[in-house]
């Protein structure tokens, strides 16, 4: 089978229907093919795999596929296609002052990622494009050549909605008139609400007055870290409770994803756990030995995905902590591993003679 055919076969497999053993076996074959592809097409990846270990070795399992640390997309240009094939450059927003990640897509990878994301989203939204309320400002779409992760996320989700209305002004005030108008037209039938978790909490829920909002027919898809919310002592349950109380919305799905692996979104299931789709998975690694840990043991999240052919991002060690909670539990008909994300790695305390040492990691 060609690489494309191998990847497409997984994209066409039942999204959450394969038992873990079968899923892992099929992923291993596809990821091995991707390793061969990137070794042939990306000199940097070839050098890394030659020096740091595996080289041409055939992986015995998903955990055996060589991974790259996610920070490498901030410091190095990692590309597996000719420059004139690059159609889109994605950048991570990051915190102010931080170097953003840069991810290079060709048409094939972008198309595959869009198709993958569609499979995940239509699983909960249905095949019809619903009217869409975006809890963000249209200003995030300003620069169409280099999207921030927020812009890319909003734009990506707009494919699954129709007649989008932005709920926030450029200064992130609630645009009550626009929202009321949207609800007057679409509020009585199913509609889609999308936004980053923090924006939904801080700029929608916390800003609502006594009148509240009637979003009971809405389905909320939200993403983004819980870190900022954890600082405000807001967890998943608090978020859901407040959402239901203030808006009547009960169909709420968090998802986990990153700019380095667009399309491989882990959507929340009925049990509140995140499910990698059939074409992606996680390996949880011990943060000190980096060896895979058993189900139930927290560690650093490695994300694998068969989608990227234009950059060597099929196995990425993230800077997030997480745990595999169940395997093949079958809740809501979903098989495979179910994951809980526990947050970012703690930051290192900076030591040493140089005050700027923290910045010294990236050359």
């Amino acid at each position: 089978m060609t690489l494309d055919a191998t990847i497409d076969a997984l994209l066409d497999a039942p999204l959450y229907g394969l038992p873990q053993a079968e899923k892992a076996a099929r992923l291993t074959d596809a990821l091995a093919a991707l390793t061969r592809h990137h070794r042939a097409a990306c000199p940097a990846y070839r050098r890394l795999t030659d020096v740091l270990g595996s080289g041409e070795r055939v992986p015995a399992g998903v955990a055996d596929v060589p991974w790259l640390p996610v920070g490498l997309w901030k410091s190095h240009r990692l590309v597996s296609v000719a420059d004139d094939q690059i159609t889109t450059t994605l950048t991570s927003s990051g915190t102010t002052g931080q170097v953003p990640s840069r991810v290079y897509l060709d048409a094939a990878t972008a198309r595959r990622q869009a198709r993958a994301l569609a499979k995940v989203m239509t699983h909960v939204l249905g095949p019809r494009r619903l009217p869409m309320l975006v809890v963000d400002t249209d200003a995030v779409l300003a620069d169409r050549r280099a999207f921030s992760a927020r812009g890319a996320g909003v734009l990506g989700m707009m494919t699954f909605g129709a007649q989008p209305v932005f709920a926030l002004t450029p200064t992130l005030e609630l645009d009550r008139a626009a929202v009321d108008q949207f609800l007057a037209r679409h509020g009585h039938a199913p509609f889609l609400v999308f936004g980053f978790t923090y924006l939904v909490w801080a700029y929608l829920l916390e800003r609502l007055d006594q009148r509240g909002l009637d979003l009971r027919h809405g389905t909320l898809i939200h993403s983004g870290g819980w870190k900022a919310l954890a600082e405000r002592a807001v967890d998943d349950a608090t978020f859901r409770a407040r959402l239901a109380a203030a808006t009547g919305l009960t169909r709420s799905y968090n998802f986990y994803g990153m700019v380095e692996q667009i399309g491989a979104a882990f959507l929340e299931g009925d049990d509140g756990l995140l499910y990698p789709p059939v074409f992606a998975d996680v390996i949880i690694r011990d943060p000190f030995t980096l060896a895979p840990v058993p189900t139930g043991t927290p560690g650093v999240i490695e994300v694998v995905s068969v989608l990227p052919t234009s950059y060597p991002g099929h196995a990425i060690l993230t800077e997030d902590l997480g745990v595999v909670v169940t395997v093949d539990a079958g809740v809501g008909g979903r098989l495979g591993q179910a994951v809980r994300v526990l947050g970012r790695l703690p930051r290192a305390e900076v030591r040493g003679c140089s005050d700027t040492h923290a910045a010294g990691v990236a050359p």
Binding site: A44, R47, L48, V51, L52, G53, L68, P69, G71, L72, S75, H76, P287, F288, T289, L290, V300, L317, E319, L345, P346, R347, A348, E349, V350, R351, G352, C353, S354, D355, T356, H357, G360, V361, A362, P363
Partner: protein, 409 residues
């Protein structure tokens, strides 16, 4: 402009009043009895301090300040003074210690106060238990009547990053001491000194260890263990992030071509570290993974070996092209060189400390002479990389804090 004065503990004070008070302080002189007494009391307090048992860097500081050492330094100093020179303090010294080595401000102050100077020490605005503890002890000792003069000659202060305050202090400084590396030096230097004022600067540095391969091969288990203990001190204190922490190991001599001796030593080093309960922080360990990947893409790395979770050794097949970028936290470049002298082509101004084992003195002296000031300011035995000394970064620090008045009768 207001600052918080921690030593003496006076709370928030007006900067102009603080400076006026320091200007009125009685003049000191080098190695005065009362200052030696103050330092020795401080040292005794630290050496008996339960807090110092969990912070070994406090023990080291206490040892550095012990009376016998200070008396010896005074004797050396007096023996070297010419009869036509009167040594006097430099004047008002403004210290900017690094924000993330908690004990450094004390070394900076100590060397300056021994010379009799008036000292303003800028403490990090980020509070630290170790700094708070040291300030508390010093403040308590300064309250004793014997130390009234010393008390009048010091202000250890905190203020938020504020260029105006730094400028006001700099404008009054006879000598400004800037630690904290290139960026801090550049930032503080924007504030002008008086025309006669002088900067003592401590830039970003890189350090390495040179191992005589034949000498290591010849070690029995006990000898290897002893060497490993010294290397573990150098490598793991301050998470390998101090300017003098070795980041590159160079095996000198043909025997190093054999891999077993190298692995035997690094295994012994991590055994020592493990025995001491050393374990990298999770974030430091993960940062190492990123650095390893970056180093492979950017430099002449040919192989990686992991020794437990504490140490990753990256072998390079040449020194050319090895960037002096390093995150600390348990990663060591490893190279082989035919002779110590052959390092001279590679050494640059950025290189500070070469710790050594199994290499004869004449080769060390010869290397320093061959380099002729192009790099390396310290060549010290393994185990002493982080031992603060009077001679540092090419300076004689006691001398730097003095003025030399020529008196011909």
């Amino acid at each position: 402009m207001k600052v918080v004065c921690r030593v003496p503990a006076r709370g928030t004070v007006e900067l102009t009043e603080l400076l006026a008070g320091l200007a009125a302080a009685p003049g000191g002189h080098p190695f005065a009895d009362d200052v030696l007494e103050l330092c020795s009391q401080f040292s005794q307090r630290l050496m008996a301090d339960p807090v110092a048992r969990v912070h070994p860097e406090l023990m080291t500081l206490g040892y550095f300040m012990r009376k016998a050492e200070l008396v010896r330094a005074r004797r050396d100093h007096e023996a070297a003074v010419r009869h036509d020179v009167v040594q006097v303090p430099a004047g008002l010294v403004f210290h900017v210690p690094p924000g993330n080595v908690d004990t450094m401000f004390m070394y900076s102050w100590l060397l300056a106060v021994l010379a009799g100077n008036v000292n303003v020490v800028r403490l990090s605005s980020r509070s630290s238990p170790v700094v708070d503890h040291l300030c508390g002890i010093l403040d308590e000792l300064l309250a004793r009547p014997l130390h009234a003069d010393a008390r009048a000659r010091v202000a250890m202060i905190q203020y938020d990053h504020d260029d105006a305050t730094t400028a006001a202090l700099s404008a009054r400084a006879d000598l400004r001491v800037i630690w904290g590396g290139d960026a801090t030096v550049a930032a503080i230097r924007r504030a002008p000194l008086p025309a006669h004022g002088r900067d003592l600067t401590f830039a970003d540095r890189f350090s390495l260890v040179a191992l005589g391969a034949d000498a290591v091969v010849a070690l029995d288990d006990a000898g290897l263990r002893a060497l490993a203990e010294q290397l573990a001190n150098d490598l793991f204190w301050f998470d390998q992030a101090a300017c003098a922490s070795p980041r590159l190991a160079v095996w000198i001599g043909a025997a190093a071509a054999a891999g077993p001796v190298r692995d035997r030593l690094w295994r012994a080093v991590v055994e020592v570290a493990a025995g001491r309960g050393h374990r990298p922080e999770m974030a430091v360990r993960m940062a190492r993974e990123l650095f390893v990947h970056q180093a492979v893409l950017d430099g002449p790395v040919v192989a990686r070996s992991d020794f437990g979770t504490a140490l990753t050794v990256l072998r390079v097949d040449r020194l050319d092209g090895l960037a002096r970028v390093h995150p600390g936290g348990g990663v060591l470049f490893e190279a082989v060189a035919p002779s110590l002298a052959s390092l001279d082509r590679w050494i640059t101004r950025k290189d500070q400390t070469l710790t050594h084992f199994g290499l004869p003195r004449h080769e060390l002296v010869e290397l320093a002479q061959r380099l002729a000031g192009r790099g390396l300011d310290r060549l010290v035995p393994v185990g002493q990389a982080l031992q603060m000394a009077r001679y540092w970064d090419g300076y004689d620090l006691v001398d730097q804090f003095l003025r030399h008045v020529h008196v011909v009768a």
